[in-house]
């Protein structure tokens, strides 16, 4: 039997007031009328806890758009889970936050798009900056721990020092600086988002110095830009190893991006239990462990470190989800990534970002 998962990413809705062009939601967003009703989510949380889940990440889209959020928070908390609210901050009033905290939210992750109001609001596609600053103050006043999440890309990477300073000013205990990972919307907008090598080289020491300076005050987590690396990221710490995602329509996914693999037979909580899906479904067992690997991964000692990288990226860039992640320097497809970097990092004409929208 596979080991039990620790985390459930509950994408309660794909609806969101923000329109970030790197959104981790799929390009085909789930519409409101296809969202799971409250009772299904309550059942999903019960099944997740029975399966071993101890952390519930209430995410979206914007989870505050679900009127049943208080009930869902209370239920996840009653099961003994750590409840993490992942929000844009838009729609988070003092009363709403106080109620959610009382029902058991343990931690809030607040997105921030850039260091300045102008940059933030341009990337988010709406005037959200002031509400985020206000939301951070409310979270601090409520006594909840705060993580600020910023996705980095060509349009804000030069401002990383300002982003760190702002996160400090907002009172964050953690700052996640995550270079864009190219799936869904981010893949569509890759030519507008891929950072240059010079940008990454300049940001690295700034982040490292801040990590040192802020030790014990604000932890800074830096997620690498994998296209520029020689080895792949340890995506999800292995397929079906630690976490599962339930999408707004009840699809159960080994990672939030997994719908990009069209041959993956995705199961739904409306039809099967999380236990059966986690342990026995073709989708979760497809790339679990090491048996599915071919060379160069199969005989590579790094497979214990990076698990062959990302299956979704392998599919997107090579057409084969079982291939070695093509960012790996040992992949026969590394030239594909190099060609993308050569052609998209410094385009002759800066492409417009396709803002995230329901189709």
């Amino acid at each position: 039997m596979a080991e039990a998962p620790f985390g459930l990413l509950a994408e309660l809705t794909h609806r969101c007031p923000l329109q970030c062009g790197y959104c981790s939601n799929p390009v085909e967003l789930v519409r409101r009328d296809a969202e799971l009703p409250t009772e299904d989510w309550l059942r999903v949380f019960d099944q997740a806890r029975s399966l071993g889940v101890l952390q519930v990440h209430l995410s979206g889209g914007e989870p505050l758009l679900r009127p049943d959020l208080p009930e869902l928070v209370a239920h996840a908390n009653s099961l003994g889970c750590y409840v993490n609210l992942v929000t844009s901050g838009v729609g988070l009033s003092r009363d709403r936050l106080h109620d959610l905290a009382g029902r058991g939210v343990d931690h809030v992750q607040l997105s921030l798009q850039d260091a300045t109001k102008a940059g933030n609001d341009r990337i988010a596609g709406i005037k959200a900056f002031d509400r985020k600053v206000e939301a951070a103050a409310l979270i601090r006043a409520e006594g909840l721990p705060l993580t600020v999440n910023t996705v980095l890309h060509r349009q804000n990477l030069d401002n990383v020092a300002g982003i760190i300073a702002l996160a400090e000013r907002l009172g964050a205990e953690r700052l996640e600086l995550a270079n864009t990972q190219y799936y869904g919307w981010a893949l569509r907008n890759r030519a507008a988002l891929l950072p240059t090598r010079d940008q990454l080289a300049a940001a690295g020491p700034v982040v490292a110095a801040a990590q040192e300076r802020l030790r014990g005050v604000m932890e800074i987590v830096y997620v690498i830009a994998d296209y520029h690396e020689a080895h792949p990221k340890p995506c999800m710490y292995g397929w079906g190893a630690r976490q599962l995602t339930v999408a707004p329509d009840g699809s159960v996914l080994p990672c939030p991006a997994a719908t990009v693999i069209p041959t993956l037979p995705v199961e739904n909580v409306r039809d099967s239990s999380l236990h059966d899906i986690w342990h026995d479904s073709p989708s979760f067992t497809a790339f679990r462990g090491f048996d599915w690997m071919r060379d160069p991964c199969r005989s590579c000692p790094r497979k214990e470190v990076d698990f062959g990288g990302c299956r979704c990226q392998a599919f997107q860039l090579t057409g084969d989800a079982a291939a070695t992640d093509p960012v790996c320097s040992l992949s026969p497809h590394r030239s594909t990534v190099d060609l993308i970097l050569a052609t998209e990092v410094a385009p002759a004409v800066e492409p417009a970002v396709a803002m995230r929208r329901m189709s």
Partner: protein
């Protein structure tokens, strides 16, 4: 090496619990989950912001044989690294 006079305290936002599924004490925090063995669970339970590392070693000595203050200090230092506890003093 953490001083025996250091006073550890569970960080804000960190939750302790018992997981019936894994039959183990756990600590839950934003970054993840730690599944604790019995000794670690006893140490975490005593990180109350009042007792020092030395006090915790003494208290555990009543319960378990052969508790070395240095071992407790090392365990607390690891919990500090994982951002499960803060240390004053």
């Amino acid at each position: 090496m953490l001083a025996l006079g250091a006073v550890p305290r569970i960080r804000r936002g960190v939750k302790r619990g018992y997981d019936q599924i894994r039959s183990a004490h756990v600590v839950l925090f934003p970054e993840g989950v730690l599944v604790l063995n019995e000794t670690a669970a006893s140490v975490v339970a005593l990180c109350d912001g009042v007792r020092s590392v030395g006090d915790i070693a003494l208290a555990l000595g009543d319960e378990y044989a052969g508790v070395e203050p240095a071992d407790v200090a090392e365990l607390v230092a690891r919990l500090v690294d994982r951002r499960v506890v803060d240390v004053d003093g």
